[in-house]
């Protein structure tokens, strides 16, 4: 078993069925696993349902499961399997109606890439959450609302230069913290 110290403690916690352990795991992994599932299923609510089902199942099966990889890989792999099952079932249903959609089965490499992407997206989320308030606000407006620097400067009553500085700062922090990953 390739479990590091933190994983080992969490693994023991899973086995013991401790509520705190499950809450910690949920808070740590839920968002990224939903984002990951969404890449297969597109639909957000369905993705949430799949990941929630996984956690309930993890609790119910805690005594019998064995985890051979890191917890992270185990979680992603389980979600991937669940998503592929959903897609297969959906295709069976569609086939009944005379419509056949190609079954999406991604290769080993592809799904690893998808996992890495979800991990990076999650890291970006964490870094952005910890940015200073104004800096975070400007960056999110620029990215999420697709506003130009000028539009942001008008909305927030800042100079264009200040907006640019905030965005540069946000990018600088992101680049530094993600140095080893991108």
């Amino acid at each position: 078993m390739i479990l590091d110290n933190k994983d080992q403690i969490l693994y023991n916690g899973i086995k013991a069925g401790g509520k705190d352990t499950f809450q910690v795991l949920f808070e740590e992994y839920y968002l990224r696993l939903v984002i990951f599932a969404q890449k297969y299923l597109i639909d957000l609510d369905l993705s949430r349902e799949i990941v929630q089902g996984f956690f309930v199942n993890l609790y119910e099966q805690r005594e019998t499961i064995t985890i051979q990889t890191s917890l992270k890989s185990y979680f992603y792999q389980s979600i991937r399997n669940r998503c592929l099952n959903v897609i297969k079932q959906e295709n069976v249903r569609l086939a009944h109606h005379g419509k056949i959609r190609k079954i999406l089965i991604d290769s080993e490499n592809d799904w690893q890439d998808t996992m890495i992407e979800s991990e990076l997206a999650n890291q970006i989320r964490q870094i952005v959450t910890n940015l200073p308030r104004k800096c975070r606000q400007v960056f999110k407006m620029s990215r999420q609302e697709g506003l130009s620097n000028k539009e942001i400067s008008e909305k927030l009553n800042l100079s264009v230069r200040t907006v640019e500085t905030h965005i540069s700062n946000a990018l600088k922090v992101l680049r530094e913290k993600l140095e080893d990953y991108i």
């Binding site: 013991a16 809450q23 808070e27 839920y30 939903v34 984002i35 997206a121 952005v128 999110k140 680049r175």
Partner: protein, 342 residues
Amino acid sequence: MSYYRKVMKKKNEHITDSLLLRHIKGETSPEETDKILQWLEQDNKHKVQLTKIKKIWNLSAFLSEFDKINVRHDWQEVQGKIFNKEKVIKQIPFYKTIVYRYGRIAASILIILAAGIYILFRTDLHNVFQPMLTLQTTAEKSNVTLYDGTRIYLNENSTLDYPKKFFGGTRNIKISGEAFFEVAKDESKPFYISVDGAMIKVLGTSFNVQADPSENRVVVSVLEGKVALYPKNKEEMSIELNRNEEGIFKSDSLSKSELRDLNFLSWKTRKLIFDKTPVNEVILSLEKHYKKSICLENAGGRNPMVTSVFDDQPFDEVLDELEILLNISYRIRNDTVIIVLE
């Protein structure tokens, strides 16, 4: 050369991350675009920088997806499904089958009957009324005062399940790992501790419980008062443990001895006390307290006594003190401390 560098630096000053981002978004003027293209040609590093910003920008698209998910809300749902499941399963069949057919009165009689039968056949009946609270420690110790005033100190990597309130004629809790108890006195309501395969019955006292599932062993060390230790569901096999006695439950058999190791509580008091203790026993206590592996090389075959108190001291200091006290030397190899008796 230095002039050239200065010029380069001045030129680069205009290529900020923010400008590159505007380039990615297609918001730059033709002059700015030209400037960026030139800058890209200058150095491969510049291309890498642009690629990185592009990647960050693309992945940041997920920020709005993350914002749509409410982790706290979803945890409440999952938690409900996981930890209140027992309750739900038991209620739904009653509701659907009986209430529908025979109406409210018949149903309530049946529910009361069912609850009665259920209680009769279940020992830890507080579970019926409310979910258990769980206190779990990993790297840190913790403690809790229960509803009846009982104090429980939980060592690292241990779990305690307890009800918010005690109902009925008993007080039942469950632990794994190691804990020290100061049980509030209430002779009308015995206090039961379920630990691995063993049960401990208490009237009011303080004692330590150490469960070691890997060895299938539970050790109960009594500091004050009186407790009974027995295998689960076999109270007739019970042994009584008094002050300064230690009971060991191992693979369904019970034994009892004098409490020899004064340091069984060191995890709680952070104090190690040795009073003319042979050095080999000192080493066992140190290993347990500091979670280190210690090996004794004893060529001369002597086993000197140690009399000392270590009060929450770092391991290194303890070793240094022993070095002076006992005329020993020590070295550390891998994770093992090797102590050599001269």
